[in-house]
């Protein structure tokens, strides 16, 4: 997903500079050859095709009837049955798929929101307050960035087992609230974009520390916060291994796990394959919408974070 949206964007970022370059070339004599530009374009077209073809295939496959699916060309439409397929999906097992979508929205939406707030507070605190062990704490958190979430799933399962909380919403929700990368980004961003003078001024005006954070600091840190939210949203939405290990109750599954479970039943019920395909298509739509809606912030946030 990241790569899909990143490549067209970098194309945009590059093109204006090139345009400006060639515009001034009449004076300076610097000119990029048509050859290199064509090659660059060709590479990007290939990359775009590479990333979009599977999505195209998914869309076309989702629109086919069960019989057409195996018998017609994979990359072009046959009888258009997209809406019948969606209806069949929603009809299957009392609309359990909608339940999964709602679960994913809950885990990813609320989870990412709270994760962002926690990360912002932690990052801000580390950036702006001086206390013993500050650097040690930060380094430990930074170390957390390097530990893949998958490696933590099993220890988390054993921990949750001890308190009898496996197979509950909390088993997936609570671990989603932690974002070491978010803390890291918040710290860097807070240090760069929230001047000490503003905090001083807020204190002199009588604002408490919490109020200063929520009314002053968060606004200055907004681009970073959107970035953290997006990263965390995508991470939770795509998180598969933790729910796989934690959840047994079908009504708690996120959409990724639910589709995977269906896919393993194909040898028993071959027809379920069609539902997996249409379900996969529907399951990526929220991600695409979130990206399209927030990518402007995301772009500037990343750029700022990187530059400063």
């Amino acid at each position: 997903m990241t790569a899909t949206t990143a490549s067209p964007r970098s194309a945009n970022a590059v093109t204006p500079r090139r345009a400006r370059g060639s515009g001034s070339s009449q004076h300076s004599g610097i000119r990029e050859s048509a050859v290199s530009r064509t090659i660059a374009m060709a590479v990007m077209v290939v990359a775009t095709l590479y990333f979009l073809t599977p999505i195209w295939w998914l869309f076309v496959a989702s629109s086919k009837t069960r019989a057409d699916f195996t018998t017609t060309a994979p990359l072009w439409f046959a009888d258009f049955a997209l809406f019948e397929n969606i209806a069949a999906l929603f009809d299957y097992r009392n609309a359990v798929f909608l339940r999964w979508l709602a679960n994913s929205a809950l885990y990813a939406g609320i989870g990412a929101l709270i994760a962002t707030i926690i990360a912002a507070m932690a990052g801000y605190a580390i950036a702006k307050y001086t206390f013993r062990g500050r650097e040690t704490l930060f380094n430990v958190i930074l170390g957390g960035v390097l530990v893949p979430a998958t490696a933590l799933a099993l220890p988390l399962f054993l921990l949750f087992s001890q308190v009898g909380a496996t197979n509950t919403i909390w088993a997936v929700f609570l671990p989603s609230l932690v974002s070491p990368f978010g803390v890291y980004l918040s710290r860097i961003y807070a240090a760069a974009s929230v001047p000490d003078e503003i905090i001083e001024a807020a204190r002199i005006d009588g604002a408490g520390e919490v109020r200063t954070f929520f009314t002053v600091a968060t606004r200055l840190m907004a681009p970073a916060l959107v970035t953290i939210f997006l990263f965390q949203f995508v991470a939770i939405w795509n998180n598969f291994f933790l729910p796989l290990i934690m959840l047994r109750d079908e009504s708690l599954f996120p959409v990724t796990l639910g589709l995977y479970v269906w896919n393993t039943q194909v040898s028993q019920i071959p027809d379920i394959r069609a539902l997996v395909i249409i379900g996969s298509l529907l399951s990526i739509i929220p991600l695409i919408l979130t990206f399209l809606g927030l990518q402007r912030f995301w772009q500037s946030g990343l750029a700022n974070g990187g530059l400063k």
Partner: protein
């Protein structure tokens, strides 16, 4: 990670148990001996049951209705090798395993060796239930131990040959009854531009079914140590037979379960599939244009006049170690897999083919199937089920065996190495894997 720890501790315990069951003198693992403790619990109980069988809730609902004091709660997940087995092991380690779990026949030894199963032989009616099941399935859940039953067989996958009756007839090729005739037919079909079959490079358990039919055995356990024999006489014979078909381009080698594989059947390029009973739905779904043209015959034989069959797939309902209510769990498992209504419900939602002898007589199996030209195909499979060799033993690390051999097989179909070489390397990697898990193995 969790597995290897459990394995190390469990392997020794289980193997000791395997050796000593006959003179089991109790200890903490008491319910093994006849007259051991498998008593009903006081008051109402709730059991948890993890199964990936689609729609198993419907069968469970019938039980819950009839047994208000023993309520069963269904939990689900991906199929066994897709994650549920690993989950069971994690849960056994954490002490919160479900009371009951679905476990396929080929994974049973793994759970036995890691001491993940309750012996329910002492529970009421369990030992007596043996007569209700197809013989080979019962030996799979007892491991040949005395006074031991570790699960109740649920469904099976007796194998037969699906074939295109119309194409064979039009070409004037007799339907093969031996593997020799099958090879001759393959050459004739190839001349017409088709393939007789597709060699399934990644379905190692299907290949095991072919070996099973030929009388081969991959594993043996004498109560003290395991013996691995992936390269025995019968296995070699089967491997060389199929290698010959591959070398002469008489079988297709599409990756199974893909679109191109379905398309090859749908376009009449491939004429037969030697597969299990549940494959009936796979073809019907993947090759809709060929409806009405298929038929089912027994597997081709190694010796003319024999009627040996293999088995591919099937599972059990096991009571997992640590269940607080083994009595009730055992009663439920027995009911689920013998009650006509339950079996009918599971057949309806998940196409299962029951492991009981009477299950083959359910009304749904007595009907002709339109896709197969109205043939009563389940009669062939019922016959096949009775002809499956009961002595075949699965090993304790089948997931690893499947993966390792599949690597070699996919090389072999693309021309690097042979099936036999893949099995040879699987043989040594399996011995290594058993050693790594501290499971005693004969060199």
């Amino acid at each position: 990670m969790a597995i290897s720890t459990v394995a190390r501790v469990g392997a020794m315990a289980a193997l000791t148990a395997l050796a000593l069951t006959a003179c089991s003198t109790g200890g903490s693992e008491a319910p093994g001996a006849a007259g051991g403790d498998c008593a009903p619990s006081d008051g109402p109980v709730t059991l948890t049951f993890t199964s990936w069988l689609p729609g198993v809730e419907e069968a469970v609902a019938i039980w819950n209705e009839e047994n208000p004091d023993i309520q069963v709660e269904v939990q689900t997940g991906p199929n066994g090798n897709g994650g549920t087995y690993q989950n069971f092991f994690n849960q056994l380690e954490a002490g919160n395993a479900p009371d009951l779990g679905q476990i396929e026949f080929d994974a049973m030894p793994n759970f036995r060796v890691q001491d993940g199963l309750e012996n329910i032989a002492a529970c009421e009616g369990i030992l007596e239930a043996e007569d209700q099941f197809v013989p080979w399935t019962w030996s799979q859940v007892t491991f040949g131990e005395e006074d031991a039953v570790y699960a109740i067989p649920q469904d099976t996958g007796p194998m037969a040959m699906f074939y295109r009756a119309d194409l064979f007839e039009a070409a004037g090729i007799p339907v093969p009854t031996t593997w020799e005739e099958y090879q001759a037919a393959a050459a004739q079909i190839r001349e017409q531009g088709g393939y007789i079959n597709n060699f399934s490079q990644s379905d190692i358990n299907a290949f095991a079914g072919l070996v099973w039919q030929a009388g081969g055995e991959w594993f043996a356990n004498d109560g003290e140590q395991w013996e691995v024999n992936l390269t025995g006489e019968e296995t070699t014979r089967v491997a060389e037979y199929w290698q010959g078909l591959i070398d002469e381009d008489l079988v297709a080698v599409y990756p199974p379960w893909t679109d191109e594989w379905n398309a090859a059947y749908n376009s009449s390029e491939i004429w037969t599939w030697v597969s299990a009973v549940w494959g009936a739905n796979t073809i019907a779904s993947g090759a809709p244009d060929t409806a009405g043209n298929w038929a089912v015959a027994p597997m081709p034989q190694w010796e003319a006049g024999e009627s040996a069959a293999g088995n591919w797939g099937g599972s059990t309902t096991a009571v997992l170690k640590g269940s607080d209510h083994p009595y009730e769990a055992a009663q439920f498992a027995l009911w689920l897999n013998t009650d006509a209504d339950a079996l009918t419900a599971m057949n309806k939602t998940a196409n299962i083919y029951p492991a009981t002898i009477e299950g083959a007589d359910l009304p749904v199996f007595g009907e002709g199937v339109e896709f197969y030209g109205g043939q009563k195909i389940y009669e062939v499979f019922a016959e096949a089920g009775n002809n499956v060799d009961p002595d075949f033993t699965w090993g304790p690390t089948m997931t690893q065996v499947y993966n390792d051999v599949a690597d070699g097989f996919s090389g072999a179909v693309s021309g690097s190495g042979t099936l036999l070489e893949a099995l040879q390397s699987g043989q040594s990697s399996t011995i290594d894997a058993l050693k790594a898990a501290a499971i005693p193995v004969k060199e």
